[in-house]
């Protein structure tokens, strides 16, 4: 598939989620931490978008903000979140609760701790149906069984009365997925759904998610810092650094021709992707804490960037559109793209 044909396909998709200038802060004794600092992106029906970046860059906070799950001291201080055109920021708490787990669902990283240890699988699943579709109470069990079947749990009948600790990690994550998909959501947010699982199980789970989402036309926001997973799963990729989007591109384009030095660094530091280029390069410097970044003038990545110039250190670059579906936050995006091509 060429870039342009993919593009065409994207445009025909209906937009499920559109995020516009989202800002989430954590109030602390010092200056507020800008965990999410003006993030915008969108996801279409059936599309899988990966959100990547180093630990602490704001992926989870972004995800939680989307369902307004941020609680004090965190606070969403600006922006809009449109789910199929509805602005969630203007909804009441009760309306948001009607949407959560219904039109938009979420899966968390730790399958053991994310399931309630003292409730049976059946109760935790049926609860979603009871909450959002009380009129279908009677069929709840049948639906739960059906969904467990779909996520590939053997002997679903037998598992209904199991407690989470009686299931393996992979099974638990399947249960989580079943729980999230039960009410047929338009948007599924998966925050590092496979990080805690071993590699073979990881692949199965990802495969499962992709199949189910495409069957049901569910938009998938997949949060990960594993670029291998991104390459497998995503249609499009959003790269975050220090609470901001630094690059956005279709998956192939991104790997073939990253436009931001940070993205390039990420790719080079990932074994599976980097090995064919002969060397593994770590991004120099420590991942900065958000508090440190408050002091950084200019580009937030400049302190760690090998290409940084005086301009980078004094002026903060905007997110520049580099073409349809492409953008990067770098003064030298063109040069970056070229050097990568040259290397290739």
């Amino acid at each position: 598939m060429t870039d342009s044909s993919q593009q065409k396909q994207d445009q025909t998709r209906r937009t499920v989620l559109a995020v516009d200038n989202l800002q989430t802060r954590f109030m602390s004794r010092g200056p507020a931490l800008k965990a999410v600092d003006g993030v915008s992106f969108s996801i279409g029906e059936g599309e899988t978008v990966a959100l990547v970046g180093e630990s602490g860059c704001g992926k989870s906070v972004t995800a939680q903000s989307l369902l307004r799950l941020i609680s004090p001291p965190g606070q969403i201080v600006g922006g809009h979140i449109y789910l199929e055109g509805d602005d969630l920021m203007t909804r009441s708490q009760s309306e948001i609760e009607d949407i959560r787990g219904n039109r938009a669902a979420m899966i968390f990283q730790e399958p053991l701790t994310a399931l309630n240890p003292i409730m049976t699988v059946e109760k935790q699943l049926a609860e979603v149906l009871h909450r959002h579709h009380p009129q279908r109470r009677k069929e709840a069990r049948a639906q739960v069984l059906d969904m467990l079947q779909k996520v590939g749990i053997p002997d679903p009948e037998g598992r209904l009365r199991a407690y989470p600790h009686q299931l393996s990690g992979g099974m638990r994550q399947r249960v989580m997925i079943a729980m999230a998909l039960l009410s047929n959501p338009r948007l599924l947010i998966a925050d590092e759904p496979t990080t805690a699982l071993d590699v073979t199980i990881q692949a199965q789970i990802l495969e499962l998610m992709r199949n189910l989402c495409s069957q049901m036309g569910t938009a998938l926001l997949l949060i990960t810092h594993d670029l291998g997973v991104v390459a497998e799963m995503a249609d499009r990729v959003i790269v975050m650094y220090a609470g901001r989007v630094v690059e956005e591109a279709p998956v192939r384009t991104l790997f073939a021709q990253p436009a931001h030095p940070y993205t390039r660094g990420l790719i080079q530091s990932t074994p599976n992707l980097a090995t064919h280029q002969g060397q593994l390069v770590a991004i120099p410097g420590l991942v900065p804490t958000l508090a440190d970044l408050g002091d950084v003038q200019g580009c937030k990545f400049a302190p760690r960037c090998s290409m940084a110039t005086d301009k980078c250190r004094s002026e903060d670059p905007p997110l520049q559109t580099l073409g349809p579906d492409r953008a990067a936050r770098c003064w030298y995006a063109d040069e970056v793209m070229q050097t990568v091509s040259a290397q290739a």
Binding site: L69, R100, A105, F108, A114, N116, P117, R131, M179
Partner: protein
């Protein structure tokens, strides 16, 4: 599970026996002569000796122990010196008051402690939380009898709406009325403890991923807190309740004396004062047994609350 309960119950027998042996020697070797209470102040030594013989105190203590142990193993706790009737009868006469008192104070501890703890966990450092911190501090530092006397002064003497003392078992209602002030006295400090424990346990649980999951499912806040968070916060609370029952047993001695309730607590205090050896030994033995059973029940409760805990 049944096997576990049986094993535990069998395992408690030696403990009860050891408690019995220790209390026997503690009681019998402590200074003081029970015979003193059954002779006049100017009685000559022969008279005292006669009473000692009558009470069986002329035998060497080791021989008395052997006899007592033999009887206890046959389920016979002996005859109270003072009451002149089987220890068990005296104990069972006094037991209902103490059980009701413990029950009501536990209800107060839970009915007050849990909601206050929940509310303060909901808004840490909020108004309720600050108020409950003060409430807990007072509860844990004010001696039981002092609170009891204040309550009596206010509700019994000044307002005249509650009895100042005594237990009227005519009906459930009169019994409840007699026990309300004592139960508040006893339950208050426990309520404070339960509130603090509920608060910290809830705060801990509310940080857990599954609470986030529950919220992400769109569940209403009361369901998230009541079902998902509170259910998981229960274990430490149950521990505190188990401990509370133990301290209720201890605290009831003071409260029963202050409120003149004819329960086990007052009986044991009186029995110690008059050196009623069989009664003291019997009460301690039976109370130890009861506390051990309560501990067992607490452990079983853990398993009911948390399916991860299994006893087999």
């Amino acid at each position: 599970m049944t096997a576990f309960i049986l094993r535990r119950l069998l395992g408690t027998l030696p403990i009860v026996l050891i408690v019995g042996i220790i209390t026997f020697f503690l009681v019998q070797l402590s200074p003081g002569d029970p015979a003193m209470f059954y002779v006049s102040a100017d009685a000559p030594p022969q008279e005292i000796e006669r009473v000692r013989t009558q009470l069986g105190l002329d035998q060497p203590v080791i021989q008395r122990f052997g006899f007592w142990l033999g009887e206890v193993l046959q389920g016979n706790l002996g005859i109270s010196f003072h009451q002149n009737r089987p220890v068990l009868t005296g104990f069972l006469d006094a037991l209902p008051v103490t059980l009701w008192l413990a029950f009501f104070s536990l209800v107060i501890a839970l009915v007050v402690g849990i909601p206050v703890g929940l509310l303060s966990a909901l808004r840490p450092n909020g108004l309720v939380d600050k108020f409950s911190t003060v409430f807990a501090l007072i509860g844990m530092s004010m001696p039981n009898f002092w609170l009891g006397m204040l309550l009596v002064l206010l509700f019994a003497i000044t307002l005249g709406v509650m009895p100042a003392q005594g237990y009227d078992p005519t009906s459930f209602w009169t019994g409840f009325r007699s026990l309300l002030l004592p139960a508040i006295t006893l339950g208050y400090s426990q309520a404070a403890l339960v509130a603090r424990m509920t608060r910290s346990s809830m705060l801990e649980v509310m940080r857990q991923d599954y609470v986030q999951t529950a919220r992400a499912k769109g569940l209403r806040t009361p369901v998230v807190l009541g079902k998902h968070a509170f259910g998981n916060a229960l274990n430490p609370i149950v521990t505190v309740i188990g401990l509370a029952i133990g301290s209720l047993a201890a605290g009831s001695a003071v409260v029963e004396v202050v409120f003149n309730l004819p329960g086990i607590g007052r009986l044991v205090v009186d029995s110690v004062m008059r050196r009623d050896y069989p009664m003291i030994q019997g009460i301690l033995l039976l109370t130890a047994g009861m506390i051990i059973v309560i501990n067992l029940l607490t452990d079983l409760l853990y398993a009911i609350i948390d399916p991860r805990i299994r006893y087999d």
